[in-house]
């Protein structure tokens, strides 16, 4: 029976860097961001991480106390849900080729 073992998938999918699928790159404008984490909530990868409040400059002191969202470009496929759902429209979708220039 050991010649035909039960296949068990054990390798995490994180080795598959899906960032290469991206055509448009979401860029968070932290001076406008209110850190509501709606982008994090609706990310289907999930490729948005929660990072410590001090890592990015904030719009004001109150918002600066909240933990911030950060996009992991290794995995973001560029679907743009975050930019569409953002209530203050602080996520810009930038054409990847423009960033190359």
């Amino acid at each position: 029976m050991n010649d035909f073992p039960t296949p068990i998938a054990t390798v995490p999918s994180t080795g598959n860097k899906t960032g290469g699928w991206r055509t448009f790159r979401p860029v968070i404008l932290y001076d406008k961001c209110i850190r509501c984490m709606i982008c994090w909530k609706f990310c289907p990868e999930p490729a948005i991480k929660i990072v410590s409040a001090e890592k990015y400059t904030a719009k004001n002191a109150a918002i600066g106390k909240l933990d911030a969202p950060e996009i992991d470009y290794d995995y973001c496929k560029g679907c743009g849900i975050c930019a569409n759902e953002c209530p203050v429209k602080c996520i810009e979708m930038v054409f990847e080729e423009k960033l190359e220039e």
């Binding site: 998938a9 999918s13 994180t14 899906t18 289907p44 992991d72 995995y75 679907c79 743009g80 849900i81």
Partner: protein
Amino acid sequence: MKNLTIPEEEYMLPGHTACLGCGATLAMRYALKALGKNTIITIPACCWAVIPGVYPSRALEVPLLYTAFEVTGAAVSGIREALSAKGIEDVNVVGFAGDGGTADIGIQSLSGAVERGEDIFYIMYDNEAYMNTGIQRSSSTPKGAWTTTTQVGKIRDWKKEKKKNMVEIMAAHGIPYTATASIAFPEDFIKKLEKGKKIKGPKFYQVFSTCPTGWLVSPNKSVEVARLAVESKIFPLYEVENGVYNITYMPKKEVKVKDYFALQGRFRHLTEDEIREIQNDVDEAWRILVEKEKWSKSLMKVQ
């Protein structure tokens, strides 16, 4: 300090192979946030069978068992019984299937599991067609939709039949708890799962999951479309607990079916008259649902 409305823990890994803006991945992400680490997922042939990637890749932090298309209900029953035989009761056994694997091919084994009163969760992520195999119509495809088997060309062969109502079928089984949910309302979905965790017996959820590829929707509008489905009352959010109906979200804005259709390519062939006919169907279904809520609540008071 964190500003979160849903649990922070993630049990789904990035690097999976779902399409851009996939609603099914959001359904899984929210379900696992609510159910936690002590969960076993069972998946038949569906989009989620390919999302984790090719063997030996995995995209979940919980065990996942692949089964044949028609046996999700039987498989979860078996896992539940095996765990009980070992004296393990604190594990959530979950069947996670698409609409084809639930409303068409898997309905007999699901019906059996619910009839036997197995202590399981069954989550149907409803992307309204067989998306994984190339957008073929299912019984959960809504009236008016284009699919590759209800094509619109010289002959306008769009789907003329109504969407099968799975929650009603489950309610007719006398299921302890069944509910609809939407990827656009994760707090509502998670609350319903938390409620299900406290109920012994079968729990059935129908989660509206946008498929940008099959619905011809721009991926960035994925969540917006799901929200419009609820706001336009074409997919109302409600629960049925031991026969009592409860509408969990009352649409605030006056959104017409037409506004929901406008974002999707699969409905673009419909004429004004055809859209009006569908709007009438939706209004009638909503009226009946509101009445059911009222009636079932008053009936329970009598008892």
